[in-house]
């Protein structure tokens, strides 16, 4: 009702500020124990809100959080018209937080919502169109203040304390929304959302003090059909149309009240006037009647005479009639006898009866056949549905791949795995080689192995040059290149040179460095002088060699200036000295081992990837099969429906056959009855005959008893004169004497009553009349007494009536004038009412077709959703209600949801008992169907506390899948708060996962909430990025890249 007004009044004020924008982020300050951290909100699909309190998932403020969301969307559950006093219960309350011993309540808190245009995908677009809505909740009236700001206007801050502290200041700097004050709760829906329903919520009782009926909040079958219509009307926007209708009816009612008032006024006035007017009217009537009464008296006497004459004549004619009728009865008895004879044989009837029976049996057979087919198909469907459910379950892990993609991914994964296996083998070989290298280095067998073996066999002491020489680290750059050409050389004592040559004769390319016999310290000193390259303190003295090498070397990498040889250095490990070479070998090995590890890890990853891919392929196949099964189900259903249609088609024929059969059966029975009836009739006729004969005798006696002479005397003239007199009377000729007596007395009495009704106090009568009426007991006397008084009374009345005539006329005129005026008022009012009725009726008619169209659409969506998500089909019944009998009675529409409880069954109404889970599921589908049917693309937020309560595992999956799919396909966001056991199912279908946290009962406020989610609209992520992160450095290590 307020719509029309607000539309009119709302032209000046802000209206529908948020419009089509959707909530993308929310922040609360001093609401329950919630932290002030902003929380992003994804749109379309499911948002999961979980909790982690000190003991379990309770106590973390889930309910308060979703309650805040519903308030932000102006959910009517908050009883906005009366100021939403319940909102104050959302405020932080010290007692509830167990903080009352030290701290107080807050007296205000904030709900801050960031709303963005759904279509905006670039950061600029978003930033331009974003609106930040601030609701300030107060602990006392007005409970809600509303302000808003274009763009992102939110409290930033390094810490909770900063953010909470800034909120007040930011609020103050917002302009007042409604001139000198702010808009309050009663304007919330209008100002923010143009009175469109944006939110349907089921909030748990912990935050809502009184539970009220709502599609989601209550088991569906607890709601009356009319409330279901209300809910659908709100969701589809029909409520505004209906409001308009109500406004028209209100107008109608106003007119009606005017009419009723005018009528009552007139009636009261009439009643008041009645005393006066009745008197006048009675007297006018009395004046007219008086003449008539006198006339009547005269006529009476005439009639009395003629009566006697007539009566005699009449009796005579009746006697004649009687004798005729006796003859007729005798003839009738003969007729009955004839009919009885005719009814005894009738072959045609028997034949018709047999044919009808046969036809009926044939049709019954066909119907049973169809029914059997239907049953069989139904069983088949049952099996397929179970299969479909298994397949859908198996198909859960597709992660969005179809079979082809999954196969391709699987092949890729396989190739990757093979490659990883190969790589792993190579790495392992390398590692083995490296391990041998260490052993060799440790044994010193890594250089000139062959040569040294030969020399050992030959008994020539020898060592590898690199083992003998050790280069100081700082000399490695100069010495290592110099020694490189001799890297594979062996050292023998100069004395052994010849033997060595012989021993190595068949090893061409062997290099032998001849050493001086092992010297003393000076040798070491010499070696030391050889610019850093020292021999090992072994048995060989290479100082000469080293000196020579050193001598030949030139600048930079030139190792032999004379020969012009240049060796490139820069070895990572020292090439001289065994220890260092062992180290080098080990390092090499380690590298190889690491490579093997890497390869194995890669191998594991590849295996895992292959697993995933394979499971996706399986799932995808299952999905394909599910599709196949689904279409098979659809075909079967189709076939069933056709069968049902044929049955339905058959039904009238069958009914007709039944009718024919029943009729023929009836014909047969009725013939028997008729025979019996005729016999009865005959008996009755005979009885009548004897009665008539008796009456004839009686009438003959009566005719002899009339005395005509006395009557002629009373009239005082001849019967002919009496006849003449009466014949001039018209209709009254037919009156009898008793009637004339009656009539004359009645007329006279009417004149008397007209002058003085029986209730009149005797004082008011004239003495003469009192004498006549009271003393002589006219009123109470018998007819006989009255007949005697008629003449004198007529005389007295005449005198009285002449007296009052003038006065009466005057009053009557006055009354007539007034009546005309009042009647005119009333007709004017009635005209107004008729017009108002007309308008209301016309509007109602067009509205009714609109409502039916909308409900048909909702019904279709309901059916579609139901079949898509595990149901067997559903629909809505919505009979058009009668227009209200009185304009202030509501025009009450009802909607009865119905659905099939099993495959192929007829739909049954929702009131039929059913399990709670199914009720909840249908309720959600109905809400979604209504939201989908309303068209346009106004976003809708469904808020469900204790999502998935009462549901089994399979239903949980289906329910969340339903939310996700509906959300993705349409502009619906479902926010569900849930317990631990539901969490995993919900996350699987969610776009956003929010977990509110508070670890200890001693903490006044929550900790930072957990947020995991993804928004494909990257611009929104970007928009909120700074808000969400500026003060959330977090733990970099835990967050990783």
């Amino acid at each position: 009702m307020s719509t029309a007004r607000s539309a009119a009044a709302g032209t000046t004020g802000p209206f529908d500020v948020v419009g089509d924008r959707v909530l993308v982020g929310v922040q609360v300050v001093d609401i329950s124990r919630l932290s002030t951290h902003p929380v992003p909100v994804t749109t379309q699909g499911l948002v999961t809100v979980a909790g982690q309190g000190p003991k379990d998932s309770n106590g973390a403020g889930k309910s308060s959080f979703i309650a805040a969301l519903s308030l932000l969307h102006a959910d009517e559950q908050w009883r906005l018209a009366s100021g939403a006093s319940g909102a104050a219960e959302l405020l932080f309350t010290a007692e509830l937080a167990a903080q009352e011993s030290r701290w107080s309540n807050v007296d205000r808190g904030y709900l801050i919502g960031v709303f963005a245009m759904p279509g905006a995908t670039s950061a600029e677009e978003l930033a331009d169109d974003t609106v930040t809505v601030w609701l300030r909740i107060n602990r006392k009236a007005p409970y809600i203040d509303l302000r808003w700001h274009d763009g992102l206007y939110v409290p930033y801050g390094e810490s909770e304390s900063d953010r909470a502290g800034r909120a007040d200041e930011m609020w103050r700097s917002l302009p007042r929304s409604n001139g000198r004050t702010d808009f309050h709760a009663n304007q919330l829906s209008k100002v923010l959302f143009g009175q469109h329903a944006r939110c349907v919520s089921f909030l748990s009782t912990s935050v809502r003090s009184s539970p009220t009926a709502n599609l989601l909040a209550q088991p569906l079958n607890d709601l009356a059909p009319q409330r279901i219509f209300d809910a659908i009307a709100t969701l589809t926007g029909l409520d505004r149309e209906l409001d308009h209708e109500q406004v028209l009816r209100s107008a109608e009612h106003r007119h009606r009240t005017t009419v009723l008032d005018a009528e009552k006024d007139l009636a009261d006035w009439e009643r008041d006037m009645a005393v006066v007017e009745a008197g006048i009217a009675r007297r006018i009537k009395a004046r007219e009647l008086l003449d008539e009464a006198r006339q009547a008296w005269r006529s009476r006497c005439a009639r009395h005479l003629l009566d006697g004459v007539e009566q005699a004549h009449h009796l005579r004619s009746r006697l004649n009639t009687l004798s005729e009728s006796i003859d007729e009865i005798r003839a009738e008895i003969q007729g009955v006898d004839d009919q009885l004879a005719a009814l005894s044989d009738d072959d045609g009837a028997v034949r018709r009866f047999d044919a009808a029976r046969k036809a009926r049996q044939e049709l019954l057979g066909r119907d049973r056949e169809l029914d059997a087919g239907h049953q069989a198909a139904t069983q088949n469907l049952e099996r397929l549905t179970t299969r479909l459910r298994e397949l859908t379950d198996a198909a859960r892990t597709t992660d969005g791949r179809d079979v082809e993609t999954a196969r391709a991914e699987e092949a890729e994964a396989k190739t990757a795995l093979e490659e990883a296996i190969a790589a792993h083998g190579v790495a392992k070989a390398a590692e083995a080689q490296a391990r041998t290298g260490i052993a060799a280095a440790e044994a010193g067998d890594d250089v000139a192995t062959e040569q040294r073996e030969r020399l050992r066999e030959a008994g020539v002491p020898a060592a590898a040059l690199v083992d003998v020489v050790e280069v100081a680290p700082d000399e490695r750059d100069s010495w290592e290149p110099r020694l490189t050409p001799y890297r594979h050389a062996v050292v023998v004592a100069r004395a052994d040179a010849e033997r060595a040559r012989a021993a190595l004769a068949d090893l061409p390319g062997s290099v032998v460095v001849m050493a001086e016999p092992a010297g003393d310290e000076p040798a070491a000193d010499d070696a030391a002088t050889a610019d850093g390259a020292t021999e090992t303190p072994a048995t060989f003295d290479l100082s000469a060699f080293l000196a020579a090498v050193a001598q030949r070397s030139g600048e930079q990498a030139v190792v032999d200036g004379e020969a012009g040889v240049l060796v490139v250095g820069g070895f990572t490990e020292p090439i001289t000295g065994r220890a260092s070479r062992v180290a080098a070998a080990e390092s090499e090995h380690r590298a190889r081992v690491a490579a093997v590890e890497d390869a194995r890890a890669a191998l594991d990853t590849a295996r895992a990837a292959l697993d995933t891919a394979e499971s996706r392929t399986r799932a995808a196949r299952a999905a394909e099969e599910a599709d196949a099964v689904r279409s098979e189900i659809a075909e079967l259903r189709e076939a069933n429906e056709q069968r049902q249609a044929r049955r339905d088609e058959l039904a009238p024929k069958l009914a007709e056959a039944e009718d024919v059969y029943a009729r023929e059966l009836g014909v047969r029975d009725s013939r028997d009855e008729r025979i019996a009836g005729l016999r009865q009739t005959r008996k009755r006729l005979e009885h009548t005959l004897s009665e008539r004969e008796a009456e004839m005798f009686r009438l003959t006696e009566e005719r002899d008893a009339i005395g005509l002479l006395d009557r002629e005397k009373a009239w005082g003239d001849t019967p002919e004169a009496a006849e003449q007199h009466l014949s001039e009377l018209g209709d009254e000729q037919s009156r009898t004497t008793a009637e004339w007596d009656e009539y004359a007395c009645r007329l006279t009495n009417e004149v008397a009553v007209g002058c003085f009704p029986p209730s009149t106090p005797n004082d008011e009568m004239t003495a003469e009349l009192r004498e006549l009426l009271v003393t002589q007991n006219w009123h109470g006397g018998s007819l006989e007494t009255r007949v005697g008084l008629v003449q004198p009374l007529q005389r007295a009345l005449r005198a009285h009536l002449d007296d009052t005539e003038e006065h009466d006329q005057h009053q009557r005129q006055q009354i007539t004038e007034q009546r005309t005026r009042r009647s005119n008022d009333l007709s004017a009012a009635r005209l107004g009412l008729a017009e108002a009725e007309q308008t209301a009726r016309a509007h109602r008619t067009s509205l009714a077709s609109g409502i039916k169209a909308m409900l048909t659409k909702v019904g279709a969506e309901f059916d579609r959703l139901d079949q898509e998500y595990g149901g067997y089909g559903a629909g809505l019944d919505f009979p058009e209600p009668e227009p209200p009998a009185e304009p202030d009675k509501p025009w009450r529409w009802t909607v009865t949801p119905k659905w099939r409880r099993a495959e192929g069954q007829r739909m049954s109404a929702y009131t039929l008992r059913s399990n709670t889970a199914q009720m909840d599921e249908k309720a959600v589908k109905l809400v979604c169907a209504a939201a989908l049917a309303r068209g346009g693309d106004r976003p809708l937020l469904l808020i469900l506390d204790e999502l998935g309560r009462n549901l089994g595992k399979q239903h949980r999956r289906e329910a969340v899948a339903l939310f996700e799919r509906i959300g993705n396909d349409h502009n619906i966001t479902v926010v569900g708060a849930l317990q631990d056991d539901m969490e995993r199912y919900a996350i699987e279908a969610s776009g956003l996962y929010v977990k509110l946290r508070r670890r200890s009962d001693t903490m006044a406020y929550n900790e930072e909430p957990v947020i995991v989610g993804d928004d494909a609209n990257r611009a929104r992520v970007q928009l909120l990025r700074d808000w969400l992160t500026s003060y959330r450095p977090g733990d970099v290590a835990q967050l990783g890249g």
């Binding site: 009702m1 009517e76 009883r79 906005l80 539970p211 709502n214």
Partner: protein, 227 residues
């Protein structure tokens, strides 16, 4: 405030359950406004007063607690006792207002409403008035126990049956004066008329006016009996 177990208020529930969320809210708000408000509420302010359908529900709600809607002037509403409920209470002998309070209230009505009407200073069909009754009139001239008058006036004021007004009249009377209070707006049309009749019957029982009233009462009782 106790919560009922099934969530439905035993008195209001049956009426409210027919309404949707918003209408329920509007009806209850209007209920609160007319029941608890001091003065009649303008219908422009509340949807449930403006709209005939909702008003009907409001009326039903009030009916459940023995009350009824009373229209005051054009477009203002308040609530009062339903005539039948008041009649039944009276039949039980229910009268919580002490005799002295009633006597004082009647005096205020006589001086502030009846006499100004006889003088032609007051028109309209209402028991409110702008003609104050001086405290002196009550204390000095009336045959009431002096000491009980002021406490009675205090009680009447607390109940909204009289209100204080400055005494602007002539004569030596000074200090406070009293007017009929806003609670008199709560009288239903028939109660307003009955009050008038009873006042006339009491003040001038022998007048033909009284006789005419008695005759009408007898007549209406008679027709009531027939029904």
């Amino acid at each position: 405030m106790t919560a009922t177990t099934d969530g439905q208020h035993p008195v209001f529930g049956p009426v409210l359950s027919e309404l949707n969320e918003r209408h329920r809210d509007e009806v209850l708000t209007a209920f609160a406004a007319v029941e608890h408000g001091r003065d009649p509420v303008p219908e422009a302010q509340l949807a449930a007063l403006r709209d005939a359908t909702l008003r009907r529900h409001l009326r039903r709600l009030l009916d459940r607690v023995g009350r009824t809607l009373v229209q005051v002037g054009n477009g203002h509403w308040t609530s009062g006792y339903a005539d039948d409920v008041a009649a039944r209470l009276s039949a039980e002998g229910w009268q919580p207002l002490p005799a002295i309070d009633r006597a004082v209230l009647v005096l205020v009505l006589v001086h502030s409403v009846a006499i100004p009407r006889s003088q032609g200073l007051l028109s309209g069909d209402s028991w409110t008035s702008a003609h104050p009754t001086s405290a002196d009139e009550l204390v000095r001239y009336a045959q009431l126990p002096r000491g009980e008058i002021r406490p009675a006036l205090q009680r009447l004021r607390a109940a909204g049956l009289v209100q204080s007004a400055p005494w602007r009249g002539r004569g030596p009377d000074t200090g406070t004066a009293y007017l009929p209070g806003p609670a008199l707006n709560r009288l239903t049309p028939s109660a307003r008329q009955r009050l008038e009749h009873q006042l006339i019957l009491a003040a001038a029982p022998e007048s033909p006016l009284a006789a005419s009233i008695r005759a009408k009462q007898a007549a209406s009782e008679h027709t009531d009996g027939d029904r």
